[in-house]
């Protein structure tokens, strides 16, 4: 068995960014991936849908997409991919997993990881977001264009660009829905909004906007596959770098071990009994925060010792506008329409980011369930509300959020169990409330109010914006720390390239920035001896 030059573990967004960076430098890469995929019968149904035009779709064609997605007043329980939960299925036969959150948080063993179900938000970090990181803003920002080349990037230049700069080509943005367009115009024309520390702009989305037909199925899974997932990039890299890139599916990594100028990777295969060892000069762990942390804990032999994961607290609330639009008749996309950043030192010393969604069919369902007392009159009331409601999803900086706690336990019989629990930070709920109240103060210019009683602060981790189990520091002194290249203390050839190495989780969209960070580390690893 030979020694590979580079092994990348995982083919989610950070995995493909790592891989792309290495390939761009002419390096050979083996990608080891758990690689679970969408069920073939569902794939077939999606393809049949794609072959028909929008007008030919029958409600029965869409049933497989819609039937299993359940939304409540506190958001989605679990976001599915084309009605399938394949992204969340636990595939590690050698470890049990327990999550105490509701809904439970599951790491993804899917090919493409959670980018198969994500909301496609791709806002680059601002300078303020990187406060407390051991790298300069430009160290990360200089890689934004490279990442942007890996994904479609539908965005436009607006007020948010000043805070979250991104140069280079952009695909044309998706069309805003009428309610979103009006909210944006209200928020940007009245100077009171800006002086309250609020910046609003269109969402930045990793979506191929051109062919979009605005069928509104984004939340269920785009029938045309226009929402980027890491599988798109992986497919392209596999085609472009046939001689350099090898992709192997079904492998789950158990541990890493550095010895004699190389790394030994102990893995097992989903369908094959026993363990097997791969050897490489360098290993990049991009298996997703929970998986990568599990691998490191086992490699370090740190059983029964909790490691804290930083989370960006997620909260949701509706916003009621005075004037409605005929949104039910409109063809809209149902991803985030707008991003709103709140920088108000009275609310929070760090920025707060809000994603704004306009109407989707799940919203109508939730409204109808929330106001059953209207009886037969409920339908028109629900329609009137639907035309006036915007859904806000907010994120807080990890300093103001609860934390997740991950422990790898080992039983007497040698079986491992990974337990994810959390510790509530009372600041989180308070800060979310303050943020909502800050918007409520602007009821006049924003022509509406947030519905504060319906604010729901979600369980930690529910938005999957977490990481920081091995935060990067200038000089890793403690055991669960890594250096500026994501190498945990004591390792020189193992690089964490997913959000496990984030020193903080800013209130932002995490994926795009985690990809840039992965790209940065992978590039640096090819330049001389980074040790």
């Amino acid at each position: 068995m030979g020694v590979y030059e580079n092994i990348v573990v995982g083919a989610g967004p950070t995995g493909v960014a790592t891989t792309a960076a290495l390939l761009s430098q002419g390096r050979r890469v083996l990608v080891l991936d758990a690689g679970r995929d969408l069920e073939p019968e569902i794939k077939g149904q999606v393809e049949r849908l794609r072959d028909k035009s929008l007008k030919e779709w029958q409600p029965s064609d869409l049933r497989f997409l819609k039937d299993r997605l359940m939304a409540t007043a506190s958001g989605f329980d679990l976001k599915l991919s084309y009605g399938s939960d394949f992204c969340y299925r636990w595939d590690d036969a050698r470890t049990d997993f327990v999550s105490l959150q509701r809904p439970p948080i599951t790491p993804s063993f899917a090919i493409g990881g959670l980018s198969r179900v994500w909301g496609a938000g791709a806002l680059p970090f601002s300078i303020a977001d990187l406060e407390g990181w051991p790298i300069a803003y430009d160290d990360l920002a200089s890689l934004f264009p490279a990442v942007k080349k890996l994904i479609p990037y539908a965005a436009t230049t607006d007020d948010l660009t000043k805070l979250h700069p991104l140069s280079g080509d952009m695909a044309s943005p998706l069309q805003l829905s009428e309610p979103a367009r009006r909210f944006l115009s209200d928020a940007t024309t009245n100077p009171r909004v800006a002086s309250a520390g609020i910046t609003v702009g269109s969402s930045r989305l990793a979506v191929e906007s051109g062919p979009c037909v605005y069928c509104g199925l984004c939340l269920y899974g785009c029938p045309y596959g226009l929402i980027w997932s890491a599988t798109d990039t992986l497919g392209r890299l596999t085609a472009d770098y046939r001689s350099l890139l090898e992709y192997r599916s079904g492998w789950i990594v158990d541990s890493v071990h550095e010895a004699a100028e190389q790394v030994e990777l102990t893995c097992h295969h989903r369908d094959i009994a026993g363990q097997r060892t791969f050897r490489a000069a360098r290993v990049f762990l991009a298996a997703g925060v929970i998986q990568s942390t599990k691998i490191m804990l086992r490699s370090l032999g740190r059983y029964n010792e909790p490691v804290m994961l930083r989370d960006s607290q997620y909260f949701v609330f509706p916003f009621l506008r005075w004037k409605g639009t005929a949104v039910l008749k409109e063809s809209v996309h149902t991803l985030a329409q707008l991003f709103l950043e709140l920088r108000d030192p009275h609310v929070c010393a760090k920025p707060v980011l809000l994603s704004i969604y306009s109407y989707n069919d799940q919203m109508l369902k939730v409204i109808q369930e929330t106001i059953p007392f209207f009886g037969p009159g409920a339908a028109p009331v629900a329609r009137a509300l639907a035309g006036r409601l915007l859904a806000f999803g907010g994120y807080l900086h990890s300093d103001y959020s609860s934390t997740l706690r991950l422990v790898l336990e080992r039983d007497g019989d040698g079986r491992d169990r990974l337990v994810l629990s959390h510790e509530i930070n009372p600041l989180a709920a308070a800060t979310a409330q303050h943020a909502v109240r800050a918007l409520a103060r602007l009821w006049r210019p924003l022509r509406g109010v947030p519905v504060l009683p319906m604010l729901r602060v979600k369980d930690p981790g529910t938005a999957y914006h977490f990481g920081g189990s091995f935060p990067m520091t200038l000089r890793p002194l403690r055991s669960f720390e890594s250096d500026r290249l994501g190498r945990p203390r004591g390792f020189s050839r193992v690089f964490l390239t997913d959000a496990s190495n984030f020193p903080t989780i800013p209130a932002s969209t995490i994926t795009f920035n985690a990809m840039a960070n992965a790209y940065r580390i992978a590039l640096a690893s090819t330049r001389g001896n980074p040790v």
Partner: protein, 289 residues
């Protein structure tokens, strides 16, 4: 020519004294950098000249936060630690670190808001901590403002707790015989004098701030009762009984607006204050009752 009133850093800006001081400084045209614990910034007024900054005693203060500050008032005290080691780490060492950072940032006038509890430092951790901070201040050119019991109406603090006690209880327990002398000062005077001290060099002695004549606890309570037009019966209770009762209530987690430290402030009058500074500067403190 003088410019606009300078910017002043204030710790404890959501506290009883701090919040009043912040309002006072803002009304005088000062800029204020309010140093607040995380999550508390929402409690200070939204004002164009007020900048909230997160800071907890015992933690590092981001130095850029002090930009433009020429003076500082330290009125914060963290009551959450209960053992002396922790109180010393957070309150004493934390305050010293804060002063050092303020001086390093070039802030010329620093005022430490102390309490008459520091006179009888041996009686409570609070008094002891205040006393230790005072000692550092006096040897490092920082003004120490030692306040009597600060009164305000419908307010917070110990005086507010006494007002609530009188309004709620028909029978009022008197600590000891209620004969101990207490020195009082109106919150308006506290604000005035603090602002005045910004323009004065530091003294080597604590500046005692209170109305020249003391009042007994019984007098104070009966004046409050009279102002509330309420008839109240006063019952002397030995201090150990009240102390035990407070401890039991605190252990049981009862929401009492009056803690053991408050009790110590009432029973620890110490020697009468020396009003040398007020006399020398011709500062008249009004009768608070």
């Amino acid at each position: 020519m003088t410019g606009p009133p300078p910017t002043i850093a204030v710790t404890g800006a959501t506290g009883y004294l701090g919040s009043a001081l912040v309002q006072h400084l803002l009304s005088r045209g000062h800029g204020v950098v309010a140093l607040l614990r995380p999550g508390r910034a929402i409690e200070v007024p939204r004002h164009p000249r007020l900048r909230p900054v997160e800071y907890s005693l015992g933690r590092e203060l981001p130095i850029e936060a002090l930009k433009g500050c020429v003076a500082g008032v330290h009125a914060a005290y963290d009551f959450s630690p209960t053992n002396w080691t922790e109180i010393q780490r957070v309150n004493v060492d934390g305050s010293v670190t804060l002063f050092e950072q303020w001086r390093a940032a070039g802030m010329g006038r620093i005022i430490f808001v102390s309490s008459r509890s520091a006179v009888a430092a041996e009686r409570s951790f609070y008094g002891r901590a205040k006393r230790e901070i005072e000692e550092y201040c006096l040897s490092n050119g920082i003004s120490v403002l030692r306040c009597g019991l600060v009164t305000s109406h419908g307010g917070r603090g110990l005086f507010g707790a006494l007002e609530r006690l009188v309004s709620r209880c028909p029978v009022i327990p008197l600590v000891g015989q209620g004969r101990q002398n207490l020195y009082l000062v109106r919150i308006e005077d506290f604000c005035e004098v603090t602002a005045y001290l910004m323009n004065r060099p530091a003294t080597n002695e604590p500046i005692e701030l209170a109305f020249s004549e003391p009042f007994t606890l019984r007098e104070i309570l009966s004046r409050i009762a009279t102002s509330q037009k309420a008839r109240r019966v006063f019952v002397p209770v030995p201090i150990w009984v009240i102390r035990t009762a407070l401890r039991i209530l605190a252990t049981a987690g009862a929401p009492i607006p009056f803690g053991e430290d408050n009790l110590d402030s009432l029973v620890a009058p110490g020697c009468p204050p020396d009003f040398a500074f007020l006399r020398a500067e011709h500062i008249a403190v009004q009768n608070p009752l």
